[in-house]
């Protein structure tokens, strides 16, 4: 069993709201400098930069899970995490069918850069990524599970794009794998403010749009950094566990 310090909600330069510094080598360096050894790349409605970050992290000791932050039709942000690039790309193909074909307006929303492992420009993603896919929360969770992934509603304590703000509460028959709270609240405060949280495993994320936003608050005790192991840890089964505490900054 090994301890992984994890940040499971990291944006790159393909998310129009992310800083231009969010390129693969800097993401990898910053995570490692903070003692973080597991991250998930979760851009808005796209997996386009996942492979580049994985390549940049090769043989560095940083594990990089492919993911996406999907925006459902209820305007809920949902973290979708996978083991393999193939699973993530299959999810992307499904999401693409349900995304409206709107062009990005760079002046309003920002640049959407697809880059290589060194951070060099490959292309601009032309479609607007900050918008809702025509998938309900239920459909999205079921689709992620069919592909073997984890589905975790993001920043549920926030006022925008949040499960609790937009839908009031989580219907009990939606089998999410956990709920994410943001940096703005402690787990204890969140559980007091949202009693429904008591019924679900929690993760905490920096929702990293700038390098300084890495939190590394999740300490997973797992055998290896896979979806199956994370799932066991979220449920506290088979000796796997998750503890939330702030990362110690090592630089």
């Amino acid at each position: 069993m090994k301890t992984y310090t994890a940040e499971l909600h990291v944006h790159t330069v393909v998310s129009p709201c992310a800083a231009v510094e969010m390129i693969p080598p800097l993401i990898v360096d910053e995570a490692l400098s903070r003692g973080i050894n597991l991250i998930a790349i979760t851009d808005h409605n796209t997996t386009a930069n996942v492979a580049a970050v994985q390549e940049a992290a090769r043989e560095t000791g940083l594990a990089v899970l492919p993911g996406m932050e999907l925006q459902t039709k209820e305007e809920i942000h949902l973290l979708c995490l996978f083991d393999t690039l193939e699973q993530a790309e299959a999810w992307q193909a499904h999401v693409d069918i349900h995304l409206p074909d709107l062009p990005n307006n760079i002046d309003y929303f920002g640049e959407q850069f697809v880059v290589d492992a060194t951070g060099d420009f490959i292309r601009r993603e032309p479609r607007l990524l900050i918008t809702s896919a025509n998938l309900s929360l239920e459909n999205a969770v079921a689709g992620v599970h069919r592909l073997g992934g984890l589905a975790i509603p993001a920043h549920v304590n926030r006022k925008a794009f949040s499960l609790f703000a937009n839908l009031g509460f989580l219907p009990p028959d939606v089998p999410v794998d956990g709920l994410e709270i943001s940096r703005h609240i402690t787990p204890d405060e969140a559980r007091r403010q949202f009693p429904q949280l008591q019924h679900y495993p929690l993760i905490q994320s920096g929702d990293v749009h700038f390098l300084h936003e890495f939190l590394g608050a999740n300490r997973f005790t797992i055998a290896r950094p896979t979806i199956a192991e994370l799932k066991l840890a979220l449920q506290g089964q088979a000796g796997r566990r998750l503890e939330i505490r702030p990362a110690e900054k090592t630089t």
Binding site: E74, S136, E138, F164, N166, L167, G168, F169, P171
Partner: protein
């Protein structure tokens, strides 16, 4: 103003089982797509205008004993949402018009916040 008059004047489609809508007089109107706000702000036995069609609208409507939910922009709920509404005796109404237009028409008909 009865719910039947509102349905007729705004040409709303009734998605759920028919009731005697002439016997229902909504207490007021609330419009929002954030269900957390609706639970805090809508009037008991009022009307609620939203483009959300998620199953949670039924729970919120039942919680507040709303007269009806007017779903805008043709955002048709899934069949299981309509089934749940029927079980909970919640009335769901549908219109292709946007929320602003529906609110404006209700205001013209003399319905105020409540």
């Amino acid at each position: 103003m009865t719910l039947q008059e509102i349905i007729d004047r705004l040409n709303l489609t009734v998605l759920t089982e028919k009731k005697d809508f002439t016997a229902i007089t909504p207490s007021g109107v609330y419009a929002s797509d954030l269900l957390s706000c609706v639970m805090a702000g809508a009037h008991r036995r009022g009307l609620w205008i939203t483009l959300q069609s998620h199953v949670n609208i039924v729970a919120v409507a039942a919680l507040l004993d709303l007269s009806a939910v007017i779903i805008t922009e043709g955002s048709t709920p899934e069949p299981d949402v309509i089934q749940k509404a029927n079980r909970e005796e919640v009335t769901l109404l549908l219109t292709p018009a946007p929320t602003y237009t529906v609110a404006g028409k209700l205001w013209e008909l003399g319905l105020r916040e409540g």
